[in-house]
């Protein structure tokens, strides 16, 4: 069922005949990079509930302590929307907030135009610290116990290790010369770390350090494997590592030691993988559909650049180039589609 074309800047926030949304109903909050807004949709119906101006180039959002926090890459701040609707700018001091990670009661934000992670008190909504890391940090991963955080550097080719108790950089894994680290992930039990080297079209594995202590500065990787061209993100499970290669239209499936299991071909521009309804589904930025690694296909209204699992076998898909958002059931296809402000990106369910 497609409902969502009634949106647009001049449309009423909600359809007139529909029931008012209950505060208990989940809301899909979508940062829209092209319009500097956080667009709000009723998750179940796709009704457009409103927009919040959040600063330049919003790309990702997260929730923390009852707040929705938006990373605005064009600012030296992030924007928090409180439970009563108040909007607060939290200074990071460094340009390019892009990814979030919550650890040890703090909210970490990678400042991708600089060389620091901003540490925000999500309750007080203040900058409490900055941690110096490799230049242009991007994705963040947190150890299961929350004691350590791992940040990939797009410029320095390292994965920095941060002690979240002291908020200090305590180690760094050297992923290789000229590496450009994009995605970073840990196995669910925290026993192995992985990083995608976009420039080198490879994925590396590293020892994240256990009770014996963090990796030293300059620590080496313990395995690596070639993947499809222009990789960006990755997913690590208990026994698998999945890496889409956007340039080659393939998804590499590797075991935890990065030995190859399979190369899944036939995608256009695969960007991410999601575990939905006991299947691994691949989001494709070059084709209007989701395809599982098992071969199942479900059409989507347009190619998607980012998606968020929202439960019950569904994904909220951001159609970045088409200014639309959809809710897609991997069994039955699109549930609803709605117009959005320009360039919707990494959403969050609130």
């Amino acid at each position: 069922m497609t409902r969502g074309t009634e949106g647009g800047d001049d449309a009423p926030a909600r359809g007139g005949d529909r029931d008012a949304p209950s505060p208990d109903d989940p809301v899909l909050a979508v940062p829209c990079e092209g319009d500097d807004r956080l667009a709000l949709f009723a998750l179940e119906t796709g009704d457009r509930l409103g927009e919040v101006p959040v600063g330049r180039l919003p790309v990702h959002a997260t929730t923390c302590r009852g707040r929705t926090v938006v990373a605005t890459m064009g600012e030296r701040s992030v924007t928090a929307v409180g439970p009563t609707g108040e909007v607060t700018r939290v200074e990071t001091g460094v340009l390019g907030p892009s990814h979030f990670a919550a650890a040890n009661g703090d909210l970490y934000v990678s400042c991708s135009a600089g060389d620091a992670l901003a540490v925000v008190d999500p309750e007080a909504l203040t900058l409490v610290d900055r941690v110096g890391v490799g230049a242009e940090p991007h994705e963040l991963a947190v150890a299961p116990d929350g004691d350590r955080l791992y940040a990939g550097s797009r410029r320095d080719g390292v994965v920095d290790v941060v002690d979240t108790g002291t908020r200090e950089r305590v180690g760094a894994i050297d992923t290789g010369p000229d590496a450009r680290v994009q995605g970073v992930a840990l196995a669910p039990d925290g026993s192995r770390g992985y990083a995608v080297d976009q420039r080198g079209a490879r994925v590396v594995a590293f020892d994240p350090g256990g009770d014996s202590g963090p990796p030293a500065v300059g620590a080496s990787i313990c395995a690596e494997a070639a993947v499809g061209a222009d990789p960006y993100d990755l997913v690590a499970t208990a026994d698998r590592v999945l890496v889409p290669g956007r340039g080659d239209g393939v998804v590499h499936e590797l075991d935890r030691e990065l030995e190859p299991i399979a190369v899944h071909e036939g995608f256009s521009r695969p960007v991410d993988t999601f575990d939905v309804a006991d299947e691994w589904w691949v989001l494709d930025a070059g084709a209007p559909g989701l395809r599982s690694l098992g071969g199942a296909v479900v059409e989507t209204p347009a190619p998607g650049l980012a998606a968020t699992p929202v439960g019950d076998g569904r994904l909220a898909v951001s159609h970045y180039d088409d200014d639309r958002v959809s809710l897609v059931d991997v069994e039955s296809g699109p549930v609803w589609t709605a117009d959005s402000p320009a360039c919707p990106f990494g959403s969050v369910v609130v």
């Binding site: 701040s77 340009l95 600089g114 620091a116 941690v131 230049a135 410029r155």
Partner: protein, 354 residues
């Protein structure tokens, strides 16, 4: 006899013509004639170096000619050039001593005692009216001007537009003229500089709610362009202070003279959007080149201009918690400039030729 007289007259006229031409080098009419003939005389050069309008600190050769007796003239060039030719009576000051720093808890700062000692050695007293010159108006000259300000110099501080080549008055040569040293007692003026900690406290505010911040290095250094020769191998990190805009200091100079003041006002006030009534901080890799922008901004009317004396060299290599001292790389606040720094000393490095 007539013929003899004619020859004498002719010789006299020829001689008079030569003398007129030579004398004409100091009058406006002759300057114009020489220009029409495609000949550049010292008067042309001097005339082009004159400074008019509401410009501070920079003066032309005419000002120096009129105020020579009341002004202490400092030569900012190296010793070899100084010995070869200089403004008569000028005293050389060593750049190294005037760029001396001291380490403080707040970060590097000008070493006022070392700087004052260097001025004292040159016989400068705190209340002297001083004019500085070099081969042009490059950063070597402006560092001397900054050093005077930093030690709280009470007398006036001026720079000779056009450098030595613009001076068509009396010249000296040979060894240094003996000048009795003075006991220059510094009165440090911390309002002329900022420290690492001053900046760290304001990260995130530059060119926004806080002070203006200008990076004077070449764009490749500011942008941390991978593989660029401009990247300093001694730096642990590359890039720029968060929020800084880049205006290469060479844009302040056109050959041996300061860039047209109207162009400078457009560059800094219109294009860079700096507020002349607010604090503006300038920095470079070292503490010499950015003084060109320091003095230029003051000359065109900026009220509170300060130098980060520690420079990017200190910021990039700070030990310990670098989260307090971040750099940015993936931003582009470069304003293109088209200046060039003249100075025929054969040194090849115009940034330090004055």
């Amino acid at each position: 006899m007539t013929g003899d007289r004619s020859n004498d007259d002719a010789d006299t006229e020829t001689r008079r013509g030569l003398l007129r031409a030579a004398a004409g080098a100091t009058v406006a009419g002759a300057t114009g004639t020489a220009g029409c003939l495609g000949v550049t005389t010292p008067a042309d050069v001097a005339a082009r170096s004159e400074v008019s309008g509401n410009v501070g600190h920079f003066v032309g050769p005419g000002w120096l000619a009129e105020n020579r007796d009341e002004t202490v003239v400092l030569d900012a060039r190296d010793a070899k050039l100084f010995r070869e030719e200089r403004v008569y009576g000028a005293r050389r000051v060593p750049l190294d001593a005037l760029a001396a720093r001291e380490s403080t808890d707040e970060g590097d700062a000008p070493d006022a005692d070392a700087i004052a000692a260097a001025f004292g050695e040159a016989g400068v007293a705190p209340d002297d009216d001083v004019l500085v010159y070099g081969a042009s108006v490059g950063s070597r000259v402006t560092r001397v001007a900054f050093a005077l300000a930093a030690v709280g110099h009470e007398g006036s501080i001026r720079v000779l537009n056009g450098g030595l080549s613009g001076w068509n008055g009396r010249l000296g040569t040979g060894s240094r003229d003996r000048v009795p040293p003075t006991d220059y007692e510094p009165d440090p003026a911390p309002s002329t500089w900022v420290t690492r900690e001053w900046l760290a406290d304001r990260v995130g505010t530059f060119n926004g709610d806080g002070p203006g911040l200008v990076d004077v290095r070449v764009p490749e250094a500011y942008l941390a362009a991978a593989g660029a020769d401009a990247l300093n191998d001694d730096h642990d990190r590359h890039g720029h202070l968060p929020g800084a805009i880049d205006v290469h200091w060479v844009g302040n100079v056109a050959g041996r003279r300061m860039t047209d003041p109207g162009r400078l006002v457009r560059l800094y006030e219109v294009e860079a959007e700096l507020d002349r009534s607010e604090t503006v901080v300038v920095y470079g890799d070292d503490n010499v080149d950015p003084t060109s922008t320091w003095l230029t901004l003051k000359a065109i009317g900026f009220e509170d201009v300060r130098l980060y004396d520690g420079g990017f060299g200190e910021w990039a290599n700070v030990e310990g918690d670098r989260g307090r001292y971040p750099v940015e790389t993936a931003t582009n606040g470069v304003l293109e400039t088209d200046g060039s720094v003249g100075g025929d000393d054969g040194g090849g490095d115009f940034s330090c030729t004055g």
